[in-house]
Amino acid sequence: LAKTTQPISMDSYEGQEVNITCSHNNIATNDYITWYQQFPSQGPRFIIQGYKTKVTNEVASLFIPADRKSSTLSLPRVSLSDTAVYYCLVGEWRYGGSQGNLIFGKGTKLSVKP
């Protein structure tokens, strides 16, 4: 499983767009990139997953360059409720199902200020 590196923390203000970049230089051909969000006293929650180019859902966008050695989670117009820890995971599975296990790093602690 590819190792990931992401910033320990980030600060933002309400209404701004936040981009969290994750590097995964050793990503393998069959690896997918998945992001989870975790609020205090809660378990992680799936946000988005992608393989290449761009993926968008109602919560976030995921940008993956052609070499796939990094990825950027984009949160549009953040609010105070987006304050959480965001984990980038890379592995040969889709959605962390039975094909493999999730390996979490320390994540990025995002603090959104008013």
């Binding site: 006293s41 809660q42 378990g43 992680p44 929650r45 799936f46 997953q49 984990y87 889709r94 959605y95 962390g96 199902g97 039975s98 094909q99 296990n101 999730l102 390996i103 979490f104 790093g105 320390k106 994540g107």
Partner: protein, 114 residues
């Protein structure tokens, strides 16, 4: 639809005492996971079940930890005897099997060993 249910939410015990955590996964989810999360760290997998079978328990400290998933539904994680270093949040997650489904996490049990 009910999410993953865990109990208790909080547990305080003295070292050398036994403790057990219970998890009820989302109905129909064949795959069940137990994670441990230390303060400031991401969750780490302890054991993964496919129905009743533990398919990955390589990270489970087998000298003091045990788990079971009778009838392929509910699961129990036990520690006996507990040590100070076992203080952490124990998370249970479940997912559908072979369908590329995301993992759904419960709220966790916060264990404090004194």
């Amino acid at each position: 639809e009910a999410g993953v249910v865990q109990s208790p939410r909080y547990k305080i015990i003295e070292k050398k005492q036994p403790v057990a955590f219970w998890c009820n996964p989302i109905s129909g989810h064949n795959t069940l996971y137990w994670y441990r999360q230390n303060l400031g760290q991401g969750p780490e997998l302890l054991i993964r079940y496919e129905n009743e079978e533990a398919v990955d328990d390589s990270q489970l400290p087998k000298d003091r930890f045990s788990a079971e998933r009778l009838k392929g539904v509910d699961s129990t994680l036990k520690i006996q005897p507990a040590e100070l270093g076992d203080s952490a949040v124990y998370l249970c997650a479940s997912s559908l099997t072979r369908t590329g489904s995301e993992q759904y996490f419960g709220p966790g049990t916060r264990l404090t060993v004194t």
